[in-house]
Amino acid sequence: MGNSITLTIDGQSVSVAEGTTVRAACEQVDTFVPTLCWHENLSPANACRACVVEVKGSRTLVASCSRVAEEGMVVETNTPRVENARRVVAELLTSTTDYSTAPQLMNLVKLSSADTDRFSGGANWEQPVKDDNNLYIRDLAKCILCYRCVEACGDDAQNTFAITVAGRGFNAHIDAGFGRALPESDCVFCGNCVAVCPTGALMGKTEWTLRSQNKWDENQLTTTETICSYCGVGCQLSLHVLDNQIVKVSSPMDHPVTQGMLCVKGRYGYQFVQIEDPTPV
């Protein structure tokens, strides 16, 4: 570990290792900074701007998820400017997207006292669900364009680069290239985008189907930890089980082997476990 530096957060002096972000420094002193696009295993996308703080001497607010703390920095996390920005971010997002399965955005609405009607009534992202494969759906009406899926598909994890942002301004959207259906795209169905999506815009087909039948019940879900049996990498799997059926597979984000990322076999190749018919094929 390198040298440590000292900054001030809301009047409190904090020492952190050099290279620590302002957000992480805040965490160290239990100062909560809301985030939407930030993810522990991805490089900061800086896109949602929910995490902005006021840094003395800076003309604009500063995204704490990516700004590296500096010696002597004076940070304020709850000024009127910060509160206004957070609130407006929440109001803009909720005026545009369906946030019914986005807990972090719901939380931001609550803590910023956002008025979700203030900017609504105009254009929004309502659109049909893209249901073009058996493994996961894309309900982009729920997307907040946090870039997490793009990063997970790109050089933060999968290095497949099947999806990216297309279009610009209000028409910017996640796309698999030329508007193609996923099976026609470069997607390898690892589902790592699904694993990091914070809004339910990307969702496993099984979960999505159960939800639409009102059969998805978080309270009834149990989790069984195991190790993938397909190959020698040995990825840690969390099997999410409902009514004695595996309905979703994930991997712990802090697992040293996977960092939460899997391949198509580990994430979606679980049906063999629960096929009752013993007849050999």
Binding site: R49, V52, T60, A85, V89, L92, G122, V165, G167, R168
Partner: protein, 414 residues
């Protein structure tokens, strides 16, 4: 005082714009040689002493930027000429490149020598095809003289594809790298991590032209015009209700009223003949009422008192028949179209501003617009989102411009 021609060639010049003769006639050959002879440290000190500041909008001291790129560690370094010019009402780089392309190019070579770069790029707006052709020919002329090429400084021309945002420096780097032109987070600044992750110096066309004329003369000559805080001359692009719209070169400190009225400049107000307001600095600029126009001069300090800045040098004049809400609606449309979509305040904010203005609700929803505008200014990633609400806010701050509020909705809409 009227027009001064230093960045623009004298009207009685003898050589063709795209020719070696022009380099000689303007003294640019001596300028380049002078820099090679004196060495980078002395040359950068001269740029600093001249007081040149960036002409692309942000007015950052040019010498300081050169120092910083020069002292940043790294083997490969780059210099970039930003000729993307897509701000509404801004067309001065185009005129400059049409009339005297050798100046900015020599400025670019000088910059490369000073910061230690062997590769330079000219990033030019896609619609400027003729200008691009002239620029390429000019580069070839310098190549024939051995001033451009693999052994010294290579210059490559890159064409934009029609996005205003690609003029933002870090988006421009992404574009040259073949990526989507989305602005990057700063810091790190381009001087430390720019194009291909290397220390990069990026300058506006006009800034580089200033460098060329500076070295063709000296600091004393350079500071003959302008104010002590802001030496030199500025190209202004005047459009709207004036008798002679166009690009003019004037010393910093010239009164705005003079720029509008002088016979050899904009030649007075056309239309109804009564000035209502000026939008200074382009789409991201500030409205000044006719009374304010009479008080201000073209300099950063005096303008700051009015919340205004020179920006890229765009001056749009509106006579008293114009509904300014109609104007800000047009501007809102521009920003909603040109936002890259990366961050929430700008992607959705520009859309909501446009909707509120189009609905004719500007004054009823003033406080919502102010909260929204403030959040955009404070929390957007780049200058586009940060300045998109500026013109609107400047209008809200000037209630005396509320002439047309009752018929706002008749005018707006496409």
């Amino acid at each position: 005082m009227g027009e001064v021609r230093r960045l623009l060639p004298p009207t009685d010049h003898k050589s063709l714009a795209v020719s070696w003769d022009r380099v000689v006639e303007r003294g640019f050959d001596k300028a380049y040689q002078r820099v090679l002879d004196m060495g980078s440290d002395a040359a950068i000190a001269e740029v600093t002493a001249s007081g040149i500041m960036g002409r692309g909008g942000a007015a950052f001291p040019t010498g300081r930027k050169w120092d910083s790129v020069r002292s940043s560690p790294g083997n490969a370094k780059y210099v970039v000429m930003n000729a993307d010019e897509s701000e509404l009402g801004t067309f001065k780089d185009r005129v400059l490149l049409e009339q005297d392309p050798m100046g900015p190019l020599i400025g670019l070579l000088i910059a490369a020598q000073c910061v230690g770069a062997r590769q330079a790029y000219c990033y030019i707006r896609g619609e400027y095809r003729e200008v691009e052709a002239a620029l390429s020919q000019s580069i070839d002329i310098l190549r024939d003289k051995g001033w451009v090429g693999k052994g010294t400084v290579e210059i490559e021309v890159r064409r934009g594809a029609g996005a205003y945002i690609a003029g933002e420096e870090t988006a421009l780097f992404n574009s040259i790298e073949g990526k989507r032109p989305e602005p990057r987070v700063k810091p790190p600044f381009p001087t430390v991590r720019g194009l291909f992750g290397a220390p990069t110096l990026i300058q506006n066309v006009e800034t580089l032209a200033n460098v060329a004329v500076l070295f063709a003369h000296d600091v004393k000559w350079f500071r003959q015009y302008g104010t002590s805080a802001t030496p030199g001359t500025k190209l202004v692009a005047i459009s709207g209700h004036v008798n002679h719209p166009g690009v003019f070169e004037v010393p910093f400190g010239t009164r705005l009223q003079e720029i509008i009225d002088a016979d050899d400049l904009a030649g007075g107000i056309s239309g109804t003949g009564h000035l209502q307001a000026v939008l200074l600095g382009g789409a991201a600029g500030t409205f000044l009422s006719s009374a304010e126009v009479a008080e201000v001069s073209l300099d950063y300090g005096p303008l700051a008192k009015y919340g205004a800045s020179i920006g890229s040098g765009a001056v749009m004049a509106f006579d008293d028949s114009v509904d300014l809400i109609w104007v800000v609606t047009k501007l809102a449309h521009f920003f909603a179209d040109e936002s890259c979509g990366q961050c929430v305040p700008c992607r959705i904010g520009t859309q909501r501003v446009l909707e509120i203005l189009q609905d004719g609700n500007t004054w009823q929803r003033e406080s919502d617009l102010r909260d929204l505008g403030l959040a955009m200014r404070d929390a957007s990633i780049c200058g586009l989102g940060q300045t998109a609400p500026v013109a609107l806010l400047s209008m809200l701050d000037r209630p005396y411009l509320r002439r047309f509020e009752m018929k706002g909705d008749e005018h707006v809409g496409e």
